[in-house]
């Protein structure tokens, strides 16, 4: 066998040269695809890619947002991880809220969803009543909660004391502050209720009828009919809940400031997280460092830490599907 291919016969593996017309068509096709993708590409680059790049860049710089940035190596990273005592409590609080608040919101939202799909009369009223709190602006809702739960003058504690139940300090007690925030989030469960309600109404009725004929009880019907049908929605609620809670800011800040009793005026120095840093979350620390102390480098480090945790948790949830769906092969 000759080692040299005959010049008349091209090698079997060599690509056949494309005709110019074909190449043009492929190029046009690529350009068209790119054209359709361009709005997303622009949005992604401007609102995600560039800020992410900038955050990485500034995490290695000293930058007070007025003088030119200067390179400081790992100084900001070292500061955040070894010299900033508030980083630990802020991270702990954020993760606590992610675990407890998200889990309870999903369970409570599903419970309310089940309730409003089962009730026979006054359906419209109950659905509206459960949904309405979600429409309350977060600041107004938090202000109302802080006043209702004021340990000295709030009606909740007055009632508890009147019936002989020890009244907690709520937002004024470090042990109760985070549970109080969870209560606030459960009060505004309307968003999840609507999503779960839609998912529950979408479960085919025939499957329930078949299960009933097979003698399945209420729990068995939920476990083997309802649950498999709504698991994608539960996964959605968990993932979006984790991402939202990682960014938890407004309610914690407002509750802490109001409960501290300090009058908030133009010259007031307020450290977020009252009481005893129990409501301090990482986003509050990012704002405080970045836009009050103008320590941009350290704020960027914190943002990147938050980003990495959020990405890791989300990836894990999506890969394992939180044990809710059978893993894809």
């Amino acid at each position: 066998m000759s080692l040299v291919e005959s010049p008349e016969r091209p090698a079997a593996t060599a690509p056949r040269p494309k005709a110019p017309a074909l190449r043009r068509r492929h190029r046009m096709q690529r350009l068209r695809t790119l054209g359709f993708l361009s709005p997303w590409l622009v949005g992604f680059s401007v609102f995600f890619g560039y800020p992410l790049l900038a955050t990485v860049y500034f995490s290695f710089m000293h930058y007070n947002q007025i003088q030119q940035p200067s390179f400081v190596g790992l100084r900001n990273w070292k500061y955040v991880f070894t010299q900033m005592p508030l980083f630990g409590p802020a991270l702990w609080n954020t993760l606590w809220l992610v675990v407890v608040m998200v889990a309870l919101r999903v369970v409570f939202g599903l419970g309310i969803g089940l309730l409003v799909t089962k009730i026979k009369s006054g359906v419209g009223f109950f659905r509206t009543a459960f949904y309405l709190p979600y429409l309350a602006p977060p600041v107004a809702a938090t202000v109302a909660f802080v006043f209702l739960l004021n340990p000295g003058t709030g009606p909740v504690n007055e009632i508890l004391e009147a019936v002989g139940i020890p009244a907690p300090g709520w937002f004024n007690d470090a042990a109760w502050a985070k549970p109080s925030l969870v209560m606030l989030s459960l009060w505004g469960i309307g968003d999840l209720m609507v999503i779960f309600m839609a998912a529950l109404l979408d479960v085919p009725k025939e499957q329930y009828e078949a299960a009933e004929l097979d003698g399945a009880g209420a729990w068995a019907r939920f476990r083997y009919v309802t649950w498999p049908s709504i698991t994608p929605i539960v996964l959605f609620a968990v993932v979006t809940g984790v991402v939202q809670t990682m960014q938890y800011y407004t309610q914690a800040l407002v509750a802490g400031k109001l409960a501290s009793g300090v009058t908030i005026g133009p010259g007031t120095v307020i450290q977020p997280g009252y009481p005893d840093h129990s409501t301090l979350t990482v986003p509050q620390l990012v704002y405080s460092l970045g836009f009050q102390n103008f320590n941009t480098g350290a704020a960027c480090v914190l943002s990147l830490v938050l980003f990495v945790i959020a990405m890791a948790v989300t990836t894990l949830l999506m890969r394992k599907r939180a044990g809710l769906l059978p893993a894809e092969d």
Binding site: L53, Q68, T263, G267, Q292, N295
Partner: protein, 446 residues
């Protein structure tokens, strides 16, 4: 895409991003070459929001415009330091020319960053000798490392308000002058119900109550926060430990931290008629000079008086001192009319007639030598107490720092734990606090 092309594209993207990012810094730069006699409109941002206070500012501006018909001033009220900070960093045509801040905490940041311009060249140009116009304490808290980037625009001094009726009932003849008298009187004035809850506390010292932040109470000890090299020295200053130990003693003399903290959470809003002193839940109260006006306007149902806060027993000769702070004002680095802005700033801060009229209108302490001596100043004895505190050479303001009030919040955090008894070893805790303040300061150094 072939690898070499990909590398080129990636390098170009990174280089482009780097250029864009470095372009983020340093917004607009102002000018001090304007002619202040030419027609111009200035923007003045301030923090006052109360109707009467805003009127006093507007009246001041009207007087200025009468003196300088070529300069018009647009005021923006209720502006916080955060807004000022962010606006001056963003720059643009809507940024202010003259800015003010209700706190002295950020002066170090304003001066070191160059965000507020150095005023010494303007004073030199117009022949103002600052040491002859402003008391040293006020000049100290408006400058940082040789840069006088702000001037005092009235001051606040802190003293003791006391309920004369409660004093009479407890058989106390005069307000306390030393810390041991303070502790004894506070205990005497405290009244508890049979169930142990409070009817009235003598003095609620808890650092989270209204104006009781640790830096304000600590001023009675006359501490030195930083050494000559700028390093935090709270652990090396024995007064830090004395102050925190006394705080615990004062709490214990009236029932302890936990009981008083619970009582504190039952108080109404600081600025309302439900505040602790107004409702007679506390017989003594630390506050600024403005509280007197509020007590009069709120028609307090008891006889009250004002006095300086007591001092440590071993510093009895410093009685009369107090914590000082105040509004500060300066010129934005981005202002293109800095000479005209200086005319406004000079009028607001150094014109004796203006300073006295403004001080009387908003019940603040004037901040120039001439105004402090003026016979036109409000003669109300309760207000005079605070004028005397401001003039006392032992009175103290917080030293400016490169990162604003970050060291004050660090001190606050530490003090919250110390008063709650969560710091078993104060010496060790104070050393750690110093280390943290130094680390925070280092972070702000370029």
């Amino acid at each position: 895409m072939p690898r070499p092309r990909m590398r080129i594209c990636l390098s170009a993207a990174l280089a482009g991003a780097g250029l864009i990012l470095s372009g983020c810094a340093n917004p607009s730069v102002g000018s001090d070459r304007d002619d202040p006699t030419q027609p111009v409109t200035l923007k003045f941002w301030h923090g006052w929001s109360n109707q009467a206070e805003v009127k006093a500012v507007d009246d001041s501006i009207a007087r200025f415009e009468k003196l300088h018909p070529n300069i018009k001033v647009k005021t923006v009220n209720n502006v916080t330091d955060e807004t000022v900070n962010q606006a001056l960093r963003a720059g643009g045509d809507d940024a202010p020319d003259v800015v003010s801040s209700f706190t002295t905490n950020n002066v170090g940041q304003y001066c070191s960053s160059g965000m507020w311009v150095d005023l010494d060249p303007f004073m030199k140009k117009t022949g103002m000798e600052k040491t002859k116009v402003f008391p040293k304490t006020f000049l100290d808290y408006t400058s940082y490392q040789g840069s006088q980037c702000a001037l005092p625009l009235l001051a606040d001094s802190y003293g003791l308000y006391y309920n004369k009726d409660a004093f009479k009932e407890a058989g106390i003849e005069r307000p306390p002058r030393t810390m041991s008298e303070f502790k004894r009187d506070a205990a005497k004035l405290t009244k508890r119900k049979p169930d142990g809850s409070y009817e009235r506390a003598g003095f609620v010292p808890n650092f989270r109550l209204y104006q009781n932040s640790p830096d304000r109470l600590f001023a009675q000890w006359g501490p030195t926060y930083f050494d000559k090299k700028g390093k935090a020295q709270l652990a090396r200053d024995p007064r830090s430990k004395q102050f925190l130990t006394f705080q615990r003693e004062l709490l214990d003399a009236q029932g302890g931290y936990a009981a008083l903290e619970k009582f504190r959470t039952k108080f109404g809003d600081e600025m309302s008629s439900q505040s602790s002193f107004m409702t007679q839940k506390a017989a003594m109260h630390l506050d600024g000079e403005w509280r007197g006006l509020m007590l009069k306007e709120g028609k307090a149902k008891f006889d009250w008086g004002s006095a300086p806060m007591p001092v440590p027993d071993d510093q009895a000769d410093t009685y009369g001192r107090g914590y000082l702070t105040g509004t500060v004002a300066g010129i934005a680095h981005s202002s293109k009319h800095q000479n005209a802005a200086w005319e406004l700033l000079k009028f607001l801060t150094a014109d004796t007639d203006q300073v006295v009229r403004f001080a009387n209108a908003i019940h603040n302490v004037p901040s120039t030598f001439a105004a402090l001596r003026s016979p036109e100043l409000d003669a109300d004895p309760s207000f005079r107490t605070f004028i005397d505190i401001a003039r006392n050479p032992h009175s103290q303001a917080m030293p400016p720092s490169i990162n604003g009030g970050q060291y004050i919040t660090a001190l606050q955090d530490f003090s919250y734990n110390a008063e709650a008894g969560k710091v078993p070893d104060l010496d060790k805790g104070l050393r750690e606090l110093d280390a943290q303040i130094d680390a925070d300061n280092l972070q702000s150094v370029n």
